[in-house]
Each structure stands twice: as C-alpha cells, then as structure tokens.
C-alpha cells in the first residue's frame, strides 16, 4: 500500500476498512490495459525515449510484428531506472526502486504467459519506523500496520527490463539521439535529432519525461495546442536526490521519516532514510536517503557532493549522537536533477489530475501520441508499472487504425 493509497483508504473508508482488506487485494490485480491489443495498422512507429514506457512500447510493437524504432537521447536505456553495482553485495536501484502494486504486474507487463522464469520479490513492510521532528526521534512502529510495498530481492527494476525486455528490442534502439523537432504536418511524421538526422514514421510515440516537454526541448510543428501547454504547466517534477551510505554498524531502524505525520500524509515532498539492505540477505549496512522536494532542492543548491554528504552526516549524527561519523565507510550520490534528459523526479499534478492527464495524452492529428509515468490514469502515475501501463493504453488506441 503506498502512502497515497493509505490516505485514500483512510479517508474514503474510515471504520468500514476492516471489511474491505481482502477486497483491496483483489482489486489491485485488475488492470484494463492488459486487454488484447488488436492492431489494424501496418506502418512504422517511432518511439521517443527508452525509459520504462518506451521499452514497454517497443516490447508490445515487437510482439505485434509492427515496424518500430526507438530513439534514445542518452547513451543507455533505462531512463529513470539505473543500478549501482559493486557498492554493496547486492545491486542498488539508483532510480525507481519500489514496486508500488501487486508484483504480479511484472508478468502482466511482459504479457508472455509461456515464460518460465521466476523473480524473487521482497515484501517491503518496514517493522521499525521513526519520525524525526523538532530534533527528536520518535518511535512510530504502529505505522508499520499500514505501509507495505514490494522490492526486487537480488535484482533491480533496471535488471527486470535488461533481462526480459531489452533482448527483444535492443537492435531497434538508436542511442545518443536527442530529438529536437517533431513535424507532424505532412502525411508522415518527420523527427529530427540534434545531429540533424531525420527519421520518418507513420506514428510517433513520445515517452520523454514531462520536464523535457515543459522546457520545449522538442519543437513540435505545428505547435502544441494551447490546452496541452496549459496542462503541462499544471505538472511539475520536483528535484530528487538518492544517497547511499555504508556504515560499519547498523544503528538505524528500517525507516526514518524526516518530519511529522502531517508532512507524511499531507505533503507532496518525500524525505526518508531507509535501510536499503532490508530483507536483502546482506551482511552490509547500507542506509539510503530518498528525498524529493524542498530538501532535495537545498542539496541541489550546494556547491559539491562533499557539502551534501557533510549535511546528511550532520543530521544523522544529531539523531544518533555522532554514531554516523564514527561508523561511516563510503557513500554514493545520485543526482537526477543533473541528468540532462531527466531533470527531476517524477510527475506531481497540482490540480485537475484526471482532466490534465487526458489532455496531455490526447494525440496530435492521430499521428503523435504520448505515454509515460505522468500519463497514467488512476493511482498509477509516478510509477514504473504506471509508465508501462500507459504504453499499453496508448498503443491500443494508436494501433486501432
């Protein structure tokens, strides 16, 4: 159950919730986007971006025997999925980390019923939870009753795509090809990258982060409708930092939330220290910091990585009476704000959630379509599976005719 789910459940169900627990579990596995795609389209599709949405789109198109090509701005696939190897005795997710729904979603994303591969998933429900407020650590283990998600045990989100999606689409990805212009005025769509290479296709699926669209990195010809531009103004991708620190001793609980319950439930910002090795069968003590919003913006404004780590260690030392500095071994900082083709965390809608998503997803002249984590209806926005879900939804529409 995510924080958003928890909030919704409490608000909408109140005391009736006890009777609904099993119903929640059964509802989660229902996903309409896994209805069969019945293509009635024979042209070529160009997918912009090789993140989760782009790779799932390629996976679907390959299975439907539709000609496609993926243009990726950077030199690697993955988008906001990335892994760190060698830091601990297990790979660490530098980007997307949690599975925010029933893990059977993994099979649904692949949609390959004959596949005989297993993946080990952790039930991520921290048992020891503390809140750090007004310079005091407060034990709040009771909240462990409400919070639960999933994580890969000895692999990562990046590995999942690398092992099960990428092999089928690898030869269709063109790297280092940031798109500058999409011209959909003619019969075919023409896409030009920064090297002035022109790609032509019948349909284009844009899966770049919303921040890239907001900064007009891609020039649309004709220009995007005003309605879409206004809807883009209603979404924002706050800054994010993920920091991993190894200690010689484990002095911290499973989770430390920075702030009180009010911030936990009511704020869009997320700030928490968490035991990265939780249920990973690891002998190493790796503490992660996941911060989105104001605190991340403060780190982003600092002059160096050293300054960021100094600030984090000072906080931990305050909490644990200098133990952090005494037991520090090493650290790794992942600053997603500096990734040139990401520039932030994930979508946060300021208002008109569903309406804005519908506007942003609306295709241009039935030729240019949009998918990604920001464009999933219901509560799956801002997730990897939500990004994949949006590709299924959009391709079903795109391939109808």
């Amino acid at each position: 159950m995510t924080r958003k789910d928890f909030l919704n459940n409490i608000i909408t169900l109140g005391a009736g919730a006890p009777f609904m627990a099993t119903l929640f579990a059964s509802c989660r596995s229902e996903n309409i986007f896994f209805e069969d795609i019945k293509p009635n389209f024979k042209g070529k599709v160009l997918v912009i971006g090789a993140g989760a949405a782009g790779m799932i789109a390629g996976h679907i198109l390959r299975k439907q025997n539709i000609d496609f090509e993926i243009l990726e701005a950077s030199s690697v696939y993955g988008g906001r999925m990335k892994k760190l190897e060698g830091f601990a005795d297990f790979p660490i997710d530098l980007g997307a980390e949690w599975i925010h729904t029933d893990p059977s979603i993994l099979a649904k994303l692949l949609d390959e019923p004959d596949k005989e591969v297993e993946v080990e998933i952790i039930n991520y429900n921290p048992q020891t939870i503390y809140f750090w407020k007004k310079d005091k650590l407060r034990k709040r283990n009771f909240y462990s009753n409400f919070y639960s998600e999933y994580k890969f045990k000895s692999t990562t989100w990046f590995d999942f795509f690398e092992q099960h999606i990428v092999p089928g689409i690898q030869d269709k990805i063109t790297y280092n090809s940031p798109v500058r212009e999409i011209n959909y005025a003619g019969e075919k769509v023409q896409v030009r990258n920064i090297n002035n290479d022109v790609f032509e296709a019948d349909r284009v699926l844009v899966t770049v982060p919303i921040s890239i669209l907001q900064q007009n990195f891609i020039d649309f010809q004709p220009a995007l409708p005003n309605e879409k531009i206004e809807a883009l103004g209603d979404v924002y991708m706050p800054p994010i930092f993920k920091v991993f620190i190894e200690f010689s001793e484990r002095f911290y609980p499973d989770v430390i939330h920075l702030g009180g319950l009010g911030e936990f439930l009511g704020s869009e910002d997320s700030n928490l220290f968490y035991d990265v090795a939780f249920r990973k069968d690891s002998s190493r003590n790796i503490l992660g910091l996941f911060t989105i919003g104001e605190r991340a913006a403060q780190y982003a404004s600092m002059n160096s990585e050293g300054e960021i780590i100094k600030s984090i260690m000072a906080d931990l030392d305050k909490m644990y009476d200098g133990k952090a500095t005494k037991t520090y071994i090493k650290h790794y900082v992942q600053d997603w704000n500096k990734e040139p083709y990401i520039q932030g965390s994930y979508s946060h809608y300021q208002s008109n959630f569903n309406r804005n998503i519908e506007i942003l997803r609306a295709p241009l002249n039935n030729k240019v379509y949009f998918a990604g984590e920001a464009l999933t209806l219901d509560s799956d926005t801002a997730t990897v599976h939500g990004a994949g879900e949006s590709s299924y939804e959009v391709l079903r529409e795109m391939l109808k005719n």
Binding site: N9, P18, L106, E112, V117, E118, N123, Q127, F142, N145
Partner: protein, 190 residues
C-alpha cells in the same frame, strides 16, 4: 518467548479450573476481530465468573469479575498471518433493567506472527510459486474496554476496543489496536 507461552497457558488453565466453583453459565463468544482497522480476523472466547458482587436489589445493577480465555486469528493478506492465545481478567457492570453493560479488562497473550519475507513470482502467469516465511513469537499485554447489550437471556452483542503492545526480546515493541464486534451466547443459567 517460550516462557511467556508457558506462563500464559498455566494462568489460562489454573484460572479456568479455579473458576469452576463459581460457574453458573458458560458463554461462548464469536467476534470479528480487526487489527489496525485493515487487518481482519476472528476471535472465539469463553468466560468464567470469578466473583459476583451483590448489589442492593432496587438498583437494578450487577457487577462481576471474570476471566476470559480467547483464541484469535487475524491477517494482513499477502503479508502476515497472526495467531493469538489470550487471557483477560476483567470487571463487568451490567444494568439489568435495560440490558446494557460495560467491561474493563487486562489481557496477557501470546501472539504468533507468520511474516512473509519474500516470494518468488512466476513471470509467465504472475503467480506466487514459493514463499519465504518467518514465524515470530510475541508477548502481548493489553488493555480492553467493552460495551454491549443483552438481546435476550441467552445472547449479548458487544463491541470492544483493545490496545496492546507486542513485545519480543530481540525485536522492537509495536503497538497494536484491535476492534472487536461480536455475539456472546450463554449456555446454562447466567
């Protein structure tokens, strides 16, 4: 943890035996048990009267001290299952005119928690092919407040709120909050 279990079992048996002399009617209760609102379960309990206080006849009220052995189960689907063996000692005040009653009790129990740590998912059909589980024992002291009404001479309904702490020497303690909604059936003379 075994010490707690033995202690609770002994208390459970001895108090039941000692209560036999006072026994007039034996109730059996069956209740919906909800932990933290979203963890559903069921609880079955019985009760033995330890002492009945005599009240002036014209007050229409009665009071008794009782001991209640209980067994319960609650679950957090896909995450953990819990078995509870519990004993409560309480005092109940009953208004014989309108049938309403309230009770306050202290409980001591043994909670066995079966936590699913990880699962293997088949990427073909999404089904769980194996589970890695861990069983943990906890001592569970609790405070309970009950409110109910006699529907007739042989049946009560009641609701009960409980706060407890699960305690294990090697784990951090965690507060548990239960809501119980049940029916109590009386066999014999009350």
């Amino acid at each position: 943890m075994k010490k707690y279990l033995i202690l609770i079992c002994c208390a459970f048996s001895l108090t039941c035996i000692s209560a036999q002399s006072e026994l007039k009617g034996i109730p059996v209760s069956i209740a919906y048990l909800g932990q933290a609102l979203i963890q559903p379960g069921v609880k079955i309990s019985t009760e033995f009267n330890l002492k009945k206080f005599t009240q002036p006849a014209n007050t229409g009220r009665s009071k008794n001290v009782y001991i209640s052995p209980q067994i319960g189960f609650f679950t957090r689907p896909g995450i953990q299952n819990n078995l509870l063996v519990n004993t409560e000692i309480g005092i109940r005040r009953r208004n014989n005119e309108n049938g309403f009653f309230t009770a306050f009790s202290l409980g001591a129990g043994y909670l066995r928690e079966y936590q699913i740590l990880s699962t293997s998912i088949n990427l073909g059909d999404g089904k769980i092919s194996s589970k890695n589980m861990e069983g943990r024992g906890f001592f569970l002291p609790s405070l309970n407040l009950e409110f109910g009404k006699s529907l007739n001479n042989s049946m009560d309904w009641y609701s009960k709120g409980s706060f407890g702490k699960k305690i294990n020497a090697s784990k951090q303690e965690t507060t548990l909050a239960f809501i119980e909604l049940g029916l109590r059936f009386w066999f014999g003379i009350r």
